[in-house]
Symmetry: C3
Subunit: 353 residues, 3 copies
């Protein structure tokens, strides 16, 4: 990756209150932690516990808090700023803009756009995209290669879809929505009734609505509703390989970590967090701000603010106690046995179940 | 979504034994549950426990059982039918046909079809599809955009593949098979032998056969056999993000819920159900009609009809008992401790393992 | 599938020390286990426990160890070889070459290759591939249909990407890397900071490096680093639907089975194995050669060589003991109750947690 930042540019961006040292490499060409930095890298002291590493870092430029007292080595530059972590973030954001500049508006000649689609202003539509009849695309939206927008789908303003994202027929996105590679919005819900021994599909005639600022990770799948809507609330962020069943609802600002899954019609209130590989049964309500740990399996409603763990789910504090005690089970069995011996009680022969 | 149904159409479709009320909206424009319905919606009473909601629903038209005794409000219409749920399903199926009409037969000019492929009658082949040499496509089959049919693959009649479905070389589908967006049929099995410390791929030269009426969900993956066949039995329905390893076999009419997985060579007999995120080790046999709960982990054969829960799997009844008892573990430890105290027995110091 | 091997070809390939029988089918047309073989099939005796099946197999040709003493039936041929399993593998490899011959070098006219990309010698670039500006493709690499190589990505020599594989901007692959259908290398890491109640994306400006001989399964996702590198060590094999978070590192020759997942910044040393659906929390180190069982949930560092099981993870031996004892919990509760009765101690009322 080609990151190249002159010291002047960097200084202009982070506006240090003080500069120490000189002669750093003409250009910063990378970013790294203090321990891993090599000459040419920019590093930073974001957490006091790493203070000793500043003296030995090979970084050419280091962002430091004003109270850091050491001096740079020859050829090293220290930039003193009020909040090194935030300034690093500003640098990262600038680098991000360079690495991923907005593509210039335009429509690739291989994009297939139905004449009955309505296109906003200032769009980028990449190669081999397909936009079906009746679809509406908001202003300033970017569709990278192979994106597929179904019939009568409505895409908001300032969306950015990475290659191969799919928004199926009749689905809707708000503004500033991001879809990553291979995300599938609006597959059929998985519902069947069994008639004469065969599973007959229940029509899935609802849609999916992604509200403003939603992100959906690579190869994640969000199913359309049986009827009405599968809705993802504003600001909710969904990681890779997540499954969201038909008629689910998430509140605003939820976080769904990779490989988690929600069965049909389950509702997350605002600010719920699902850890990786967590699974929720159908038709549940998870209260505001609840945190469902990784691999947790939830089979009943969860109150607001609860922290759940284990499968089936337990409150964190109970789960922690049990996790400790289950390791002591072999001892407990021995203790009960010696009590029985002590008392001359015959052990009940175990019933097999 | 544009659902529009006149009351006349609706009446013709559901053939009510009696109609009450009049003056409903000229057209039904949505479907919703009694509680969530708004004016313009059709709703229904499918379960007696919701009977009180009929009196307060805002739905413009309600499907009701013949024995419902209330009267419609002004501007509301009640249609009395023998089985409101089934009539709703009929309405949904009609709506589905309108929302997803069969595309007219035809081959998009951007579809790349090898001259050595054999195409049936009455096909729709969408934009940017690729059909390789030797592939055979049955009559009335629909391939939406970007579908990829590998060399010498054989696709049956009346299949419907959503965009980006892949059937790799030499794989076979029966009739009426549905693949959803991004489904991958026929990836390599995951088999290696370790030679001099490096994992060397074992050739995976079998194929995948999907029998009649199989459905495979979005981004699910079914691996080809090491040799011979990975087979999905007729009528089996597979949800999104499911993994099926090489040489697996499913019986007829199995249900595999989202994110479940089967390791290599495992066999499901007919009517097996895998819950979400359930996982099966390799080389197992799961008996007819067994139900493997969500997140269950199965390490050994399961008899027909069993209901399994937990990881590693236990029969449901045992698992339920244990789930209750594990919450009482802290108490049990205390009780044993007080017995020891009572008896003046020293607690054995826990051995660490 | 059309496997066709004359007996002469087969004999030339496996070089038997002795041949018994004659008149086998002119051509071998399939491979199967002894029990499942039909006339026309090749089978083999790879494990002494199957010796009795040789006498009854319907296979036309059987690979046997030199010490097998039975005689072929009429129309059946026995080929005696030192190591039947290895010879079978040789036959499979030959079949694999026939089933998947290297495509002849060439660039499909529908491939979109930026003039600022650099192409090696002897490439195959399939239909509807896209190669962005600055990308570099090594010699002898094969990109099947719809592959997408991002800006400034660098692909090594002798890579083979199946259809729809994605290597995003700035990512790097070594030599002999294989990507399967829908694999996504270089999606954004999933990192946010919460500002005024909204999750703000932390820029993800690192990349992904896949070292030599890595394989990534269908629809798996590997995220780019926040900064620096997400690195997959040489010879590591990744199955389908696996998730690898930003800044993870795997050592050399790891095995990650289907649906396993690694949260951000976790490190696998060499030869680690993750079972199916196993999950690792972030910022952990898993020691060399450790084996993490299927569905195992790991929340802390794991020493080299450990075998872990259950969620949260326990050493296998402990987990096994506990798995047995938990089934005996109902008995234990009864035993403690009868001790209490015996002693006339009141059961403590359970505290609810």
């Amino acid at each position: 990756m080609d990151i190249s930042f002159s010291l002047d540019e960097l200084t202009a961006l982070v506006a240090p209150s003080r500069i120490a040292g000189a002669g750093a490499a003409a250009a910063i060409t990378g970013l790294a932690s203090l321990a891993e930095a090599r000459p040419g890298d920019l590093s930073f002291l974001g957490n006091p516990k790493y203070t000793p590493e500043v003296a030995t870092t090979a970084a050419s430029v280091v962002l430091l808090p004003p109270d850091y007292t050491g001096a740079p080595r020859p050829g090293q530059v220290f930039l003193f700023v009020a909040d090194p972590s935030r300034m690093l973030a500003a640098v990262c954001a600038r680098i991000e803009e360079r690495l991923w500049p907005r593509p210039a508006p335009g429509i690739h000649p291989t994009a297939l756009i139905d004449p009955a689609a309505k296109l906003g202003a200032n769009l980028y539509i990449g190669p081999y995209c397909i936009i079906e009849a009746g679809a509406v695309i908001g202003d300033n939206t970017i569709l990278e290669a192979y994106c597929h927008i179904g019939r009568d789908a409505r895409i908001g303003h300032d969306n950015w879809f990475k290659p191969r994202a799919t928004v199926s027929d009749y689905c809707v996105t708000g503004d500033r929505v991001k879809l990553f590679v291979g995300a599938v919005v609006g597959g059929d819900g998985f519902g069947f009734e069994t008639v004469d021994g065969a599973h007959r599909k229940i029509p899935q005639i609802g849609n999916v609505v992604l509200e403003d600022d939603v992100e959906v990770g690579a190869n994640s799948t969000i199913d359309r509703a049986r009827f009405a809507v599968t809705r993802i609330g504003a600001g909710t962020k969904i990681d890779n390989l997540v499954q969201i069943g038909h008629n689910c609802q998430t509140g605003r600002h939820c976080i769904l970590v990779s490989q988690s899954g929600m069965a049909g019609s389950t509702i997350l209130e605002d600010y719920v967090m699902l850890g990786g590989q967590a699974g929720l049964a159908g038709h549940l309500r998870i209260g505001r701000g609840a945190r469902i740990a990784a691999q947790c399996g939830v089979l009943s409603d969860i109150p607001a603010g609860a922290i759940m763990f284990d499968s089936p789910a337990l409150p964190l504090i109970t789960a922690k106690k049990i996790a400790v005690l289950r390791k002591r089970l072999p001892d407990l069995f021995k203790r009960v046995k010696s009590i029985e011996k002590h008392l001359g009680i015959e052990e009940t022969p175990p019933t097999h179940s």
